[in-house]
């Protein structure tokens, strides 16, 4: 499949990288020659320098033979014009990044179809939604919905002295016999591996589990957590992501406080958010945070536009006693720092966008795919049909790659946790967890 990626910013660059690693033909269009040069050196992609909204440039990039356009520059207008042009020129799937809600809100007379867009992505809103998922699942470092939310992939870090620490997966399975879940990956010292039944869980590990929503609350105590509900949230930093999150929280009736150091921004926030308490102050002003009750807050989100401030502010809040702390991190390099710094979880606007787009890109057999911020692994949802190699065979007879594991089989309304004597039948969905190297092999099995 030929994919045009518009914009080689961090999001576009990462998308191009992932897609080319999966053997897609990627053409990257970028207006800044230096950045285009950098991308062509780092990636196995074709780069075209120029304005992505211009028809000659699109034609030079081979729009006629492309089946997909990912318009992800930072300029909404460029993305919009490029999308409309590409659709007219016969591109089948058009994915467009649009940040300004005025272009797609209810007031807009132009519908998504008018603009030739198949999937519209608002990065900041996507990020705010993911943050809320993280806050709600209070023990999770990552939360990702699958199969319309019937199954969740949840990451959680094992605390020091937690009951599960030192046990093997087999022993844990015995204790949790009545619970629906599958342990699909463990991250230890920045290394991801797919655990076997004799793998031991250690304190400090990050476990990735697949389970229906709700089950995780019962597993939480084993990892050393106590569960609670989300009632009060404090957002340090009035970034667009922070504002969207406050907006979502308001709609759900969750008490929300937001603070920003810029007085004019505070006035804007106060105008847009009628039931949110807006404070004028710095995200790292501990005195202010404490005065506003950070110690008994359920969720704290550090969401300024500066990563360093967000990590520090998150750490301050965690130290002061905030229950669950999430930091907004823009730089990919900083994502690895998150566990070391001591905040509970992180979100990245670009990563949220990339995930949302990748989930859409791998169509056909692949229904959903997720890439997690903190590990080098992917969760892929396949739908099984008659022609699939794996169809009708017992799992123990299938030669499954070592670095991949079947997490869950969905058959109708049933959610099945796989054992050796399970059969994969056509018509069902299967959620597979795999390290990147194993992905092509797994895809063959389902192909």
């Amino acid at each position: 499949m030929k994919v045009l990626v518009l914009g080689a910013g961090e999001g576009g660059f990462h998308l191009a990288k992932r897609l080319s690693e999966e053997n897609q033909d990627v053409v990257l269009i970028e207006s800044d020659p230096e950045r285009a040069e950098f991308a062509s050196q780092q990636l196995d992609v074709l780069t075209v320098v120029g304005n992505g909204a211009s028809i000659p440039i699109l034609q030079e990039a081979g729009v006629d033979t492309a089946s997909m356009l990912l318009a992800v520059t930072s300029k909404d207008e460029v993305n919009l014009i490029a999308s409309m042009a590409a659709k007219k020129l016969g591109v089948e799937y058009v994915v467009t990044r649009i940040s300004n809600p005025e272009y797609y809100g209810q007031s807009s007379v132009l519908s998504q179809e008018h603009m030739g867009i198949d999937l519209m992505i608002n990065p900041e809103r996507e990020c705010a939604r993911e943050t809320l998922d993280l806050l709600r699942s209070e023990i999770a470092t990552d939360v990702m919905p699958f199969a319309e939310g019937r199954v969740q992939l949840v990451g959680l870090r094992v605390k020091e002295g937690a009951p599960v620490a030192g046990k093997t997966l087999a022993e844990l399975g015995g204790e949790l016999r009545d619970h629906h879940y599958a342990t699909v990956a463990i991250v230890r010292n920045d290394k991801t591996f797919i655990p076997r039944s004799d793998s031991k869980i250690l304190a400090g590990d990050q476990l990735f589990l697949l389970s229906p929503p709700g089950e995780i609350e019962d597993i939480a105590p084993l990892a050393g957590y106590k569960s609670s509900r989300l009632r009060r949230v404090m957002i340090a930093g009035g970034s667009t992501e922070g504002e969207y999150l406050a907006e979502i929280l308001e709609a759900k009736g969750i008490e929300c406080t937001i603070l920003d150091r810029d007085r004019r921004r505070c006035l804007e926030l106060a105008e847009h958010l009628p039931s949110t308490l807006v404070l004028h102050g710095d995200a790292t002003d501990l005195e202010l945070l404490e005065m506003e009750g950070v110690a008994d807050i359920d969720g704290f989100v550090a969401a300024t536009n500066r990563d360093e401030t967000n990590l520090l502010s998150g750490l301050l809040a965690k130290t002061a006693g905030a229950h669950k702390v999430v930091s907004l991190v823009h730089k990919f390099e900083y994502l690895r720092l998150v566990p070391r710094v001591g905040v509970d979880a992180s979100v990245s606007t670009r990563m949220s966008t990339v995930n949302a787009i990748l989930r859409y890109v791998r169509r056909g057999h692949v229904v959903t795919v997720a890439e997690l911020t903190s590990i080098e692994a992917e969760t892929i949802e396949f739908s099984v049909d008659e022609d699939s190699q794996i169809a009708g065979r017992m799992l123990k007879d299938v030669h499954f790659p070592k670095d991949a594991v079947i997490g869950t089989i969905l058959r109708g309304d049933e959610i099945i946790l796989p054992r050796g004597d399970c059969k994969v039948l056509p018509g069902g969905d299967v959620i597979v967890f795999a390290l990147p190297d194993a992905v092509p092999e797994v895809e063959q099995l389902f192909g």
Binding site: L259, A270, P274, V278, L279, H280, M291, E292
Partner: protein, 485 residues
């Protein structure tokens, strides 16, 4: 500041006032009480003085905001002065100041009267009284803007200075169209009430007069005992409903008339309605408990009537509230301050301003809990600008100070405390009756000329919402602008 320009517009307005006098003279002629000639003479004098002034002061160009404020105050004073002529020329009143007071009370829709025996007055004079209120209710200048587009751009200045409420709302892009629509709603409601009165058995003359003074929230009646002289529950209920409607923002009526009723969505409307209902229920409960009413319906009806009448600053009475329990009287006294909604014909502080002051107070309290909070005040979806809040707070303080100052002056003129205080409150709020010596069965006729002059001034300041008139006393208003050479 050009006095000639001011005189020009004021003169033109007097021509319109004289036209309404000719109309009243026509009515007088039909009823044949012998007052037609006097009113006609007053009309002719007004017509020629106004027309002459207008002719000799013609100018080109637009009005400045300062001229706008001066014009409005001068126009209202001149209108009251010429409006007093029919009372003098027909012999209904001898004292010029009493006649001026009566005319001012009419045009400002206050409803305070110097006549002890209203029923003995000829039909023409009675009709003129009601007509002054009806014209003053929506505003003389708004009427002129509606028919005379020449005031055009400068018209907005006049409009702002005259229309009640913190922010006049434009219903249409053009000010002339907005003024026309407001008058259309006004006329429509007046016709509706007249029809309902006629259906209830009122005479045509009484029906028209009372409809005029209800919609204007004026309160002049053709009877000595006001609405109490009509022994009909139906007529009282009709009056309650239309007094209530006159206190609602007319743009809401306009929206409803064009098929989009938005009353419930309007926060001020909810507040205004809640005040009327809560006050009326409290009074009704008190009156039932004290045994002054035996049945529930009359108790509720009289409580609603008085509460609506005072809140909207109409000033009609259906019962002598000075004989009620102190709790009920005090409740009514508090309602003197409230007034109708912004954009209604009612006077008083206006519910919009009261809401904003209440919200401002709530925010000050919250600021003590969250010293670093950035808090905004909202009306519905919209946030209220800081300048508007400062204006509103200033207005409320000025309003209260004005009531106090008026009461002090009146007490120096020898009035007893309760009379002085309620007379001041009643005239600043354009209500009409008060307590003690100016209760529902009394009148203002016994007062000295100086007291009547003070009260006339208070009525004017109250009707033009204080700032417009007080600006005349600011030295900068009279400084000429430096011109560029």
């Amino acid at each position: 500041m050009s006095l000639a320009r001011v005189a020009n517009v004021v003169g033109l307005l007097q021509v319109f006032v004289s036209l309404s006098m000719f109309f009243a003279a026509g009515v007088a002629f039909v009823y044949g009480d012998g007052d037609a000639v006097g009113i006609l003479l007053a009309g002719l004098l007004t017509f020629f003085v106004g027309g002459f002034t207008y002719r000799i002061t013609m100018f080109a160009g637009d009005l400045t905001p300062r001229e706008g404020f001066v014009i409005v105050t001068m126009a209202w004073t001149a209108t009251a002065a010429f409006g007093a002529l029919p009372y003098l020329f027909t012999g209904a009143l001898d004292a010029p100041l009493a006649a001026f007071f009566e005319a001012m009370s009419g045009f400002t829709t206050t409803g305070a009267t110097v006549f002890a025996d209203i029923e003995s007055l000829p039909h023409g004079v009675l009709f003129w009284r009601s007509l002054t209120q009806w014209l003053g209710g929506m505003g003389i200048i708004v009427l002129v803007i509606a028919v005379l587009p020449y005031l055009g751009v400068g018209g907005m200045q006049l409009f702002k200075a005259e229309v009640p409420g913190p922010t006049p709302e434009r219903l249409r892009p053009r000010i002339t169209q907005t003024a026309k629509l407001l008058w259309l709603v006004y006329v429509g409601l007046t016709a509706a009430e007249t029809a309902l009165y006629l259906f209830g058995g009122m005479s045509l003359f009484d029906a028209v007069n009372h409809s005029f003074t209800t919609l204007a929230t004026g309160g002049f009646s053709t009877r000595n005992a006001s609405l109490a002289s009509f022994d009909s529950a139906y007529i009282h209920w009709v009056t309650i409903i239309f007094m209530y409607l006159a206190g609602v923002n007319f743009s809401l009526h306009f929206r409803a008339a064009t098929g989009r009723p938005v009353y419930f969505r309007d926060h001020e409307w909810r507040f205004y309605t809640a005040i009327v209902l809560v006050a009326a229920l409290a009074i009704a409960a008190l009156n039932l408990a004290s045994g002054s009413y035996a049945a529930v319906e009359p108790a509720v009806r009289d409580a609603l009537f008085q509460a609506t009448s005072i809140t909207t600053t109409t000033g009609f009475v259906s019962a002598d509230y000075t004989s009620w329990l102190p709790g009920a009287q005090m409740t009514l006294l508090a309602l003197f301050f409230v007034g109708g909604m912004a954009g209604s014909t009612g006077g008083g502080i206006k519910t919009m301003r009261i809401m904003l002051v209440v919200k401002q107070t709530a925010i000050e309290l919250r600021k003590h809990l969250h010293p670093r909070a950035v808090l905004l005040i909202r009306m519905g979806q919209k946030t209220v600008k800081q300048e508007v809040l400062a204006n509103v707070t200033g207005f409320v303080i000025l309003y209260l100070l004005l009531c106090l100052a008026g009461a002090i002056v009146l007490s120096f003129l020898g009035m007893d405390l309760l009379t002085a205080i309620t007379a001041s409150m009643s005239t600043v709020g354009n209500v009409g009756p008060g307590f003690a010596d100016i209760g529902p069965t009394d009148n203002y006729g016994w007062m000295s000329d100086s007291a009547l002059a003070v009260l006339s001034f208070l009525m004017l300041v109250g009707r033009l919402e204080i700032y417009t008139v007080l600006l005349l006393f600011h030295p900068e208003t009279w400084k000429s602008r430096r011109s560029f050479h």
